[in-house]
């Protein structure tokens, strides 16, 4: 872990200086959105201060610079993900949710027929459920769910049966509630053996685990910049070049066309076909800086460090609270990320989060946009703490102190 020092990461993040209710901020909500390093903020400032112009087609100096910055974002993403076909496979969207809508509306509408099955899992975020339900309404596809076992892992015992008629497997890399990391390569092999494609929700995993598209052998990937130290308002959609070229446009307008006449239009080729209108150029500049920042830290280092933090937290939560507190997720750190959902006996998650806020602790109460999963475990909500590369064991100390206060208060 030569290059990795969480204390240095903290000094790189201006927001770490915040004081909340008289205490230094204890940010444990990276699963919802990560904090932003100064280099990311500066990259966006630099863009507006020195280069700002609309991208593509401009002939003047700053327009060319802006285009280079924007297209540079695709290069950064392709490098970050080891995209087999390079930057031409990277599409910029608004967020991971829009990436899934692009997948469902464009690829799904063209390639799925009534009765075709999209196989998702019970642990998906609504972003990877609702677009498929919408496609079910519009095109009569079937949406099927891989169940989650009592061990908080995908239950693959009936997978052969579930795979019948499946055209697409769409699964999260890491659950935003349980922290469970799914066996993506195994699922990809299974999908391909059945003639299906596989899409992965990388929103929770890309900033916390290495993502190598060649190794994973998947077909689609969706994620958001703001969960990987980048800015809000930018999502990434990746697919293999041959699939990309076969997909019809999703949103129509300027920038996505090759030609328009009074008789009709011809869509552009490549990723720009899916990028109607002026794109989020400053956000792409910030995204490139975030990719650089994560690469400098090293995803392997981040994964190993967050595993340590998570293991320590799970051990101490069990020791300090016993039966008073249940972790909704795997109890060990094997194939598990730094997302810890808590069910505190006698204290509603909203009250937990409210008491924690008084200690400057930022956690998220609610269903985490995963209501089928909540129902699976008989819960309306959990209070979720989630780590990032700037998290410290000290953050867990404050979390435990605040949790003890909440338990005492409602006892």
């Amino acid at each position: 872990m030569t290059n990795f020092d969480p204390q240095r990461v903290r000094t790189d993040i201006p927001l770490m200086r915040r004081v909340i209710n008289g205490r230094p901020i204890t940010y444990l909500d990276s699963g919802a959105s990560s904090l932003t390093p100064r280099t990311v903020i500066e990259a966006m400032d630099r863009y507006y201060e020195n280069h700002h112009a609309n991208v593509h087609r401009g002939v003047y100096q700053t327009a060319n610079e802006s285009t280079a910055i924007y297209e540079g974002g695709r290069e950064a993403a392709a490098r970050f993900l080891n995209a087999p076909g390079g930057s031409g496979e990277i599409v910029f969207t608004k967020n991971a949710t829009e990436s899934f809508n692009l997948l469902a509306r464009s690829w799904g509408t063209k390639f799925l027929a009534p009765g075709d099955v999209v196989l998702v899992t019970e642990m998906e975020h609504h972003a990877n459920i609702v677009p498929w339900f919408q496609l079910r309404e519009a095109h009569g596809i079937e949406v099927r769910f891989i169940p989650v076992g009592d061990d908080y892992r995908l239950d693959l015992s009936r997978i052969e049966e579930l795979m019948q008629g499946v055209k697409l497997v769409s699964v999260t890399g890491m659950s935003n509630v349980l922290g469970s990391i799914n066996p993506i390569r195994e699922l990809a092999d299974m999908a391909h053996a059945h003639g299906a494609l596989i899409a992965v929700d990388g929103a929770q995993s890309v900033a916390h685990l290495p993502t190598d598209l060649v190794d994973l052998d998947i077909d689609f990937l969706a994620f958001s910049a703001h969960k990987m130290l980048g800015p809000t308002g930018l999502g990434i959609f990746w697919t293999r070049a041959d699939i990309l070229e076969s997909m019809p446009p999703f949103l129509g307008g300027g920038g996505m066309i090759k030609d328009v006449s009074v008789d009709g239009y011809t869509p552009a080729g490549g990723p720009t076909r899916f990028e109607a209108g002026t794109p989020p150029i400053a956000e792409v500049a910030g995204f490139s800086a975030a990719v650089q920042y994560l690469e400098d830290l090293g995803l392997d280092n981040i994964a190993a460090y967050e595993k340590e933090l998570t293991g320590d937290a799970l051990t101490r939560l069990a020791r300090n609270f016993g039966d008073t507190l249940r972790v909704i997720g795997p109890a060990d750190t094997l194939e598990r990320g730094g997302v810890i959902s808590l069910d505190v006996k006698g204290v509603h998650p909203h009250d937990v989060a409210q008491v924690l806020d008084q200690f400057g602790v930022c956690v998220r109460p609610g269903h985490h946009c995963a209501k089928p999963l909540m129902k699976r475990f008989g819960l309306a909500a959990t209070a979720r703490a989630s780590y990032g590369p700037y998290s410290l064991v000290d953050d867990t100390d404050v979390l435990l102190e605040a949790l003890a206060h909440a338990v005492e208060m409602f006892a």
Binding site: H348, H350, D351, Q354, F410
Partner: protein, 155 residues
Amino acid sequence: MAGLDDLYREIILDHYRSPRNRGELPPPALRVEGFNPLCGDEITVYAQVEDGVLRDIKLTGHGCSISQSSSSLMSTAVKGKSLEQVRETIATFKQLMTVHEKKLGDDAEDNDVDAEIRRLGELAALAGVVKFPVRIKCATLAWNTLTQALDELPA
């Protein structure tokens, strides 16, 4: 700065731990469900109305301490009252969840508001909720559900 004590008053915690008027009423009592889609809180209000009087009220559901204690406090405040009085109490409470915010902000003397809060009795314990804007919807869930039930009464 708003502290936890402003929100979690002892009366609130008491009603959360030992909710009053829990349970169901058989038909023909009115039955209306209230739901907060953002946090998953659910409340079902059963109201038995006879001769323009809310004879009995029962509640089931689950949610945070604020939504559950507010529903319990509401049930004790409106049970046995005339519908006119019930509607007045609802209006006063909802006023507490909105106008009162201004008063808390500038510490201005406002005898009307003070008088109204006093009139609410135990319910006044919920006054601190307005200092925590995201929790106001928790406190008003039961009240909105009761309003809906009353609106369903034949004219």
